[in-house]
Amino acid sequence: MEKEEAYDLRGRQSSIIRLARFDLDSFVHMLFYRILVFAALLTAVVLVVNLLLQNIGLTLIAKVLVLIVWILFTPQLFSVFKAVSLVSTNGAVFGHLNEAFVRARVEKKGIYLLYKALPYAAMAFWFGGFVVLLYLWFA
């Protein structure tokens, strides 16, 4: 059978922008990861150079970069805890399982509340740490 010619639009990193229109969380997650990959490398280099040279200007840059990396890590870390909750509860927490299935067959257990709180609790610690570090370095 003759195959119809098709035009393939896949293969562009810019396609992640499409997410912004229907799933902002996913868009932020993807965007932060893309930036983080390069920011992590840059921060690693600056940290090493700063450890070797101990220059005040460089120390300041290193501190700012570490704080940026701290922020960029936030969605990744949230995802890790979310995945733990998701898998531990078979999709009952944070999942998007079929509503009829959930109503009929998914038992609601008390521990699920803890799993739901887990990523948010982790984020509270994470942001607390960020604020403390900001205070220690710049106050």
Binding site: R10, S15, D25, L47, N50, L86, N90, G95
Partner: protein, 328 residues
């Protein structure tokens, strides 16, 4: 190639670096500067490994994109006034049509009559039958079962037959375009050959060793409710391809197997009747397969049947991880 070894390192740094950052914060407050310097060195190593692996992952994407399609925008309005009936209102549908001859998108606006039960698919069918017969759209059952009418409505991948036209009006119009994570054929119609090839890659069928039983059935494959619940929601997939269109990794890496196939791999892996066992995990333990997923979660957000591919993929990752640790 099994990807578990590579991934263990990536995931370890992903958890370790934030942990080190946190410890550094505490050390800055309470300890001497020598410890802080040691921690900073460790963070540098962690970030370096994380950054390098992330870049390797991004550049491993087999992306040979064809040129971006030009959008010839929407001054073209086809408006054949069909008399309105009671309870109907006129709605402008802006359709982004793929012109396969000129290799460009053409935005054409149509005005359709709609009541509160009219779906986007009804609108498209009325355009095709009453205004512009050249418009190509694929559909079959019109009731969310066949999965043929997947399109993008106001930027969100949706089934045209399950999307209410009234509720979709934004800025006095409804934007309709084809899915972009499947090769385009014409207007709103996309090619699913690649999709089905990827689906086949995960061997989506029950594998049994009892060949005699299969040719001459003598007993039942009994399942308890618990065994059934492990895979039941993942078997609701209608292969509409919306999850693939929503997935940012599928959009940027042609080789990624994608959420649909992976959710089906999980569905059969968790089926107590299936006897393929760990081999299923080995099939998907690759960078372009389960480890390609970056857990954006958009696939589950758009799934019209509640299959939740994101949960399935994360569960597969945990199972592979456990399997890897058990063997090591």
């Amino acid at each position: 190639m099994k990807a578990s070894r590579y991934i263990v390192l990536l995931y370890a740094t992903m958890v370790l670096v934030p942990f080190l950052l946190f410890i550094t914060m505490l050390a800055t407050a309470f300890a001497d500067s020598a410890l802080v310097r040691l921690l900073e060195a460790l963070i540098a190593v962690g970030l370096f490994v994380y950054g390098i692996m992330g870049i390797v992952e991004l550049f491993a994407y087999k992306s040979a994109p064809e040129k971006n399609l030009q959008v010839v925008s929407g001054n073209e309005v086809v408006s054949i006034q069909i008399p309105k009936q009671k309870n109907e209102r006129r709605i402008r549908m802006q359709v982004k049509r793929f012109d396969k001859d000129n290799k460009e998108f053409r935005e054409v606006s149509y005005v359709v009559n709609a009541n509160r039960f009219t779906t986007v698919l009804d609108g498209l069918i009325s355009i095709k039958s009453e205004q512009d017969s050249s418009l190509s759209v694929r559909y079959s059952c019109r009731m969310g079962i066949c999965g043929s009418c997947g399109i993008v409505v106001n930027g969100k991948p949706s089934l045209a037959c399950e999307t209410c036209l009234f509720d979709s009006v934004k800025d006095e119009k409804v934007e309709v375009e084809p899915m972009q994570a499947h090769p385009l054929l014409k207007d709103l119609v996309t090619d699913f050959d690649d999709f089905f090839e990827k689906h086949m890659q995960v061997q989506p069928s029950l594998y049994r060793k009892d060949s005699k039983e299969q040719t001459r059935a003598a007993s039942l494959y009994k399942q308890t409710n618990k065994e059934l619940e492990k895979y039941l929601p993942f078997s609701y997939c209608i292969m509409c391809g919306l999850c693939m269109d929503a997935c940012p990794v599928v959009n940027s890496n042609k080789e990624f197997v994608g959420p649909q196939a992976l959710s089906q791999a999980y569905r059969y892996y968790k089926d107590s009747r299936d006897q393929m066992g760990e081999k299923r995990l080995n099939i998907i333990d690759k960078l372009d397969s389960v480890w390609g997923c970056e857990f954006a979660g958009a696939c589950s957000e758009v799934c019209p049947k509640g299959v939740d591919p994101a949960t399935a993929i994360q569960a597969l990752k945990f199972d592979i991880f456990k399997d890897y640790l058990a063997k090591e």
